[in-house]
Symmetry: C2
Subunit: 384 residues, 2 copies
């Protein structure tokens, strides 16, 4: 039940790190990219396809699963791993972000957040303690602390209040895990979430509070919500400078390949995002040389794979012409094959970043990646 | 290029047969059930999943593929097998059924059928010759003759006229294949289609015309379009009594498990239907004991697989509770896992029928199957 993160290498020229940690469901290599299985499935993909893409850790959403099918149901059915047939590691979020973003009618009090289900309008309450109990019922490997986020921009006193509450709620979550452990449950790791929006002083103040608590890792919360890349990266750099070296750092909700590499360069170890797979289902995929719009007429006779340098199950077998046909024809297999590529591409990206850190050449990897991504080289139609 | 059907066994008590034939893409065992890959994909499934379900032959739709992506495009991309990544046998229909059913504005003349695309309203012409050329461009293993079907009920002279035209068109299709073969193409097998609706005398007259021609197999056309099971089965019995023993008999558009077994009992060797997979995508699957509606609330905590006696990839791994959750949540993986079961279930059914014929116990298999299918035994929720 002891969560332990092993820092394997730190890049000399940047903040990039390589590490690993173990959970009851296997080893996770960092930097890690976590595909999102919102409702207990990474949309359109099987667990076997995720594993074949190199995935060792998934994120699932506490908010969605507590409402449907219900945390108690998942628990009775043997927990989330068994329910969805995923043998690897699972990290669950705390539900806090969805409670705020999917519910206009929520009421935030010191006790917790009262909200109505976006599915049927039924009333629910999520507190720091309940968020921990729900995640324990789901059987997660890594739980997240229930935090208070504010919609930015917000007045300074509102940001300050949210920071204070986030620290109080973080402590209550840890105490709830201790109670669960006294009952022989609560075996999961628990990460604290740093808040404070884009106010550097508030983020530092928030972390000063969190740093005293025995969290297994720390997350960078409240970022990538519209503040702009420059400001976001600045906050990442500041947070990572405060966070301890010996614990994993998780940047929530970031998944554009360029952002992922820049976040890694600043010391981030874990990320999640629906962007790559959501884009893929809509027919847009990231490849090494940029962003490819599959249904582009230019690909109607293109016999190349989506990414000529990719070795995912889709790129090894199917042409752009076939993928385009599937999307134009509204075929489900198109979403699926594009999603296979999307997940593989992100995991391959963080694996290559990891190898670069371990081999002391991350800076070169990063500039090579950025140049190539901007090149748009293989996006043009093949000469026919 | 010689198509040869080997009749391996005939049941003593019924008309059931077991056989096999080879194509450039492998061996096909009969009775065979062909999943339908309308637009060059069996909706939601990968070729690997089809093969794992025991599938050795697929049906693809000439009408859909000639309009999108176009037969010429498929040909330039190496043919349908390569385009869609399916290494097994492919049978294509002639396009005649869709031209009639998807187009209110078609004009049938002796030359062929003029129609407008259901996609963009563009004008097209499909003739007996063009249907053969298109199927050759697609690279099919088994092509179907372009027939004239009438919407039933129809006046006797309309049925008679359609029969006469079907026979004339059948001859023109064979002649076109001969022309193609003279050019080193047209290597595919070609099946004739019997018509005549539910008028026994007309069907017999139609077949008298077709029987003289060197088709590689014969299809039972114009059935299962609303005439009722009793009348349909009577027509099947009559057709099969006329058809030669040494050629495969293909009943078009039949896929309900009970109909499949009854058709086999009357001498049918091949069938296709979208029903099992379309039902599956809508959350209804056939299992050994009847028809299971996956989203039924009774299955919310049911840890059994869809079919406790099935060994498909879905039933080996997932519970009804999970499948129900996926359907209730609108998740694509639900359609996919249900489709895997649906295809496996139909192919397993015809394989068991085949084994029963080979072992001289088809009558017992048939009554055992029918009794069990009517039992609804495992459809009730598990006691909890």
């Amino acid at each position: 039940m002891t969560f332990s993160f092993q820092l394997q290498a730190e890049d000399a020229a940047t903040g990039a790190r390589a590490g690993r940690f173990g959970t009851p469901h296997g080893e996770v290599l960092t930097p890690a990219f976590m595909p999102v299985g919102t409702q207990g499935t990474v949309k359109s993909l099987s667990p076997e396809e995720l594993a074949a893409a190199g995935c060792d850790i998934l994120l699932c959403n506490t908010y969605h699963l507590m409402l449907r099918p219900g945390a108690g149901t998942v628990r009775r059915l043997g927990g989330l791993h068994r329910f969805m047939g995923w043998p690897g590691t699972i990290l669950t979020d705390s539900g806090g972000f969805q409670v705020m973003s999917l519910n206009e009618l929520n009421r935030v009090r010191e006790e917790g957040v009262e909200f109505r289900s976006h599915l049927d309008g039924s009333r629910h309450m999520l507190s720091p303690e309940e968020a921990i109990r729900v995640q324990d019922d789901l059987g997660t490997d890594i739980a997240m602390s229930f935090d208070h986020l504010v919609r930015l921009p917000a007045p300074p006193d509102e940001v300050r209040e949210a920071v204070d509450r986030t620290v109080r709620w973080a402590r209550r979550g840890l105490e709830e895990r201790t109670r669960l452990r006294d009952q022989g449950r609560g075996g999961m790791a628990l990460f604290g979430i740093n808040q404070g929006g884009t106010t550097a002083a508030e983020r530092a103040r928030c972390f000063a509070g969190l740093a005293e608590m025995p969290f297994d890792g720390f997350a960078l919360g409240g970022l990538w919500v519209g503040e702009g890349r420059t400001l976001g990266l600045e906050m990442i750099e500041r947070d990572c400078a405060e966070f301890p070296r010996d614990k994993p750092r998780y940047l929530m909700g970031v998944g554009h390949p360029v952002d992922v590499v820049e976040a890694i360069a600043r010391g981030v170890d874990m990320m999640d995002c629906v962007l790559p797979t959501r884009n893929a289902r809509r027919g847009t995929v990231f490849i090494g040389t940029g962003r490819l719009v599959v249904r582009n007429a230019a690909y109607a006779h293109d016999e190349r794979p989506l990414d000529p340098e990719c070795d995912c199950a889709t790129c090894r077998k199917y042409t752009r012409a076939y993928l385009r046909h599937l999307f134009i024809s509204g075929e489900l297999l198109g979403m699926r094959l594009a999603s296979v590529h999307a997940v593989h591409h992100m995991i391959s990206l963080v694996r290559r970043a990891r190898a670069a850190v371990l081999e002391g050449r991350f800076a070169a990897f990063r500039s090579g990646f950025l140049d190539k991504f901007a090149s748009r080289e293989t996006l043009a139609a093949a000469a026919s």
